[in-house]
Symmetry: C2
Amino acid sequence: MPLKVVVIGGVAAGPKVAAKIMRLNPEAEVTVLEKGRFLSYAGCGLPYYVSGAVQEPKDLMSTPIGVVRDVAFFQKVKNVKVLNETEALEIDRAQKRVRARRHGEAADFWLAFDKLVLATGASPVRLPFPNAHLENIFTLHGVQDAEGIKALVSQAQAREVVVIGGGLIGVETAEALVQCGCRVTLVETLPQVLRVLDWEMARLVERHLESHGVRVLTRTQVTAFEGTGRVSGVLTSQGRLPADLVILGIGVRPQVDLARAAGLQIGSTGALQVNDRMQTSDPDIYAAGDCVESRDLVTGQPCFVPLGSTANKQGRVAAINICGGDDRFPGVLGSTVCKVFDFCVARTGLTEWAARQSGFQAVTVIVPDADRAHYMPGAKPIMLKLVVDASSRKLLGAQAVGPGQGDKRMDVAAMAITAGMTVDQLSKVDLCYAPPYSPALDNIITAANVARNKLDGQVVGITPMEVKQRLDAKEDFVFLDVRSPAEHQQERLPGSILIPLGALRTRLSELPKDREIITFCKISLRGYEAAKILQGAGYERVRVMDGGAATWPFEKLTS
Amino acid sequence: MPLKVVVIGGVAAGPKVAAKIMRLNPEAEVTVLEKGRFLSYAGCGLPYYVSGAVQEPKDLMSTPIGVVRDVAFFQKVKNVKVLNETEALEIDRAQKRVRARRHGEAADFWLAFDKLVLATGASPVRLPFPNAHLENIFTLHGVQDAEGIKALVSQAQAREVVVIGGGLIGVETAEALVQCGCRVTLVETLPQVLRVLDWEMARLVERHLESHGVRVLTRTQVTAFEGTGRVSGVLTSQGRLPADLVILGIGVRPQVDLARAAGLQIGSTGALQVNDRMQTSDPDIYAAGDCVESRDLVTGQPCFVPLGSTANKQGRVAAINICGGDDRFPGVLGSTVCKVFDFCVARTGLTEWAARQSGFQAVTVIVPDADRAHYMPGAKPIMLKLVVDASSRKLLGAQAVGPGQGDKRMDVAAMAITAGMTVDQLSKVDLCYAPPYSPALDNIITAANVARNKLDGQVVGITPMEVKQRLDAKEDFVFLDVRSPAEHQQERLPGSILIPLGALRTRLSELPKDREIITFCKISLRGYEAAKILQGAGYERVRVMDGGAATWPFEKLTS
């Protein structure tokens, strides 16, 4: 008897499981049920379809050589039967069958299975307002959403846009709509956009959004929608925002209704609980993709991080196990990357905030540096932050913001965290070097070395946030800028005085020995040199400000 | 008594050691001896100065904010005394002193040390011809070489250039000179350029060089130079090549004369032997950079891989140990990256060839794929090769060639090799995914999965080289192209027949069951699907050609 598999969900994990099963077991009978019309579409590509970077929605549903992955494709090429516009309504675990109904048809039907795969995905959260379904309020979840937004924008019916939610989707969509010529306001409840970053790193992104014309309102609650029939405004704790178009990007929720009704175990995150073989609490029912929770590889805790990359990996694991193999999905690091205009914004592992929440004694460094040899045309800065466990010296997390190639460094960091590397080990890895691709010491190696200096007590750091608090409290310390006069002139940090590094040894008499000195430069390499000079000259209370002027997240004075 | 350190060599590792020592021990007295005029210059940047991408030689000698690292800089900023144009002549180990002489001065002088650091670098190999020093024969090793070449080129006195040696320097310089308007012939003794790659990967680079007008002559010996006073031609086993300018890029040799004369241990590679603390056989004498040999992290064997990145890391280790710390340099992977026009060419770990030489049973895969979501504008292909140990399933090496971002994938591979990861582990790592940065399954994860399929017997591969041999020997097999008719029409592999994948299930009767079938497509994903269909239909002898038509290194037929 051929193996009978039913897969519920035809977007990401589902088709992957189905195709892989057929490759492993060509005799199998695999049926995919998808309630929507479209199959195997790249949901993550939707903002790029809205912006026009991707021209046709079918590009998001095609193979690399342009064949649309429709029902016929799955039948012909994969020998997988797909029923789209068909909703699964009930799982009968006892009799191992699924009840389903095709859209527009009155009759249900039952499908028997030996193994069932739940790849039901996640659905966007909506606001609980009475008029939350006014026209022109969209999420950006499916192809239809994107088409709807695009239609409005292209007919110039949406000039004022309010994007609610400063997460990945919100930020990507804000960029897309600016590129369509809209005036975009991004509203976020939290004190920052992109919770995947620490506050000061998110500040850099907010500034970048603002420099491209996005109005960013953090710490702002949306209280109501205005409009009759179609939306005309958004009421917030910061006042009314006019709106022809509202995009909701406040997160997604795993679709687990079917699973819950069938008595399958739901995890603490609200997503389906699976073991590392992708089995639910019923060993004949597997699950993969945006409907399941994963294990955070750093903390060991369950987490809900829905991503197309993870869905693909989990689908493969489920398929191998369904076909009698033994494969394991170990978990995730929360690795994330996001294009924000010409910035690459990325992180992996724990943020400083999350590390402290999880009980780690975290040491952090912020190292801004060019992404290739600084003398190469096209070298671009990356602000790189590392979060390191003080006791084990292991890398816990990393963040990168800036126009430089931060994605590469985050992937290296992800590998280091996965391997449990200390910053000492990371500082020695043989990464590829040539001037067009990296500095002689890659950014992440330099950052690892700065972390080692901190861990070894070679340098005592202070965060810009702490410096700002001290400045605001008018505490008594010397805030010493050791950049060049020209750099100081162009952009000064409040309360700072200037002694260029090259003159420091000869001008020590200007600095009191009884006050604390906090040094900085542009990126804090010279700041570090200055601290070493001061320490060598007998100054005992010297600190170096993390990240230098380049990552100072507060106001700067310009001439 | 302050610690007295003498450092011989002021280009890469030397200044690093000196500066780090002063930061760790501000009381130390560090003197750097450099026989050349220029300090701390980025030798790896010289081809980009020749091409004009870097405008001024001083850019290669400056800090990121444009301060030239000259003698005054080292004194003022680092408190390091540098004697340039000063050659070390003798190491007196018994009395712990170095004899040196300043250029143009008659008298030698002695410098005492507690610790000595040898950072004497490497010097370019020259050909042993009687007229090897004709004018206009250059190496590209120092700033003066670059200035000399640039002068000739900018005065249009060098139209015909012969670059001897197809290594990194040769290839980079060939590109630079093409960009200067020269006609460049690249001559290499071996059957391929870039020995850091396997043959078929190097073939892709050769074709790319040729497509940019570089004439590539492999398996070609240089036998003599022609010319009186200045070079006018190069005689080779393939005939005479006219030449106004000759660049020698046939490698470098570690400068170990001083060390050898002092009785320090020289390793099997001809470079200085050091332990992982960067100590030579004399525990008070350290060495770092291009004059020392490293340990290959995969084989454990000594190797000589001179690189600026390694020099910097080793310099830091030496400095920490000199100052009483304990730091270790574990070794290298031979990670390399090189820009060849718009190709990124990179590798890390062992090539297939080197793996077999070292006794590994290597399984390899070649996976050509776009470097980001295929529907994104700007997605570019990478031809990715992995070399995997069949018994441990660990990644041994990786290579990337193509316009896509191969450097990122090689850094991930370098991390995987360093961590001793199996391809099974590598296939699950949580790399950063968003459509502008990678496919949902990153290239290296897909390649790891293909390797797993091979290791698990899910697919039986065959290299293009083997296929070619069989074609040449007129062996009896079906060479099955499963691409679309349009793709087949545009570019065909010799001897292949076409059945598009989508039609395969219905056209099985056209394929004999008693002959071996070798399938392929553009990148061999469809080739793999086809093989699975054939296997499912009872075909027993089916193989998939590695890398598909995209990496076929031989002639293709075009319509």
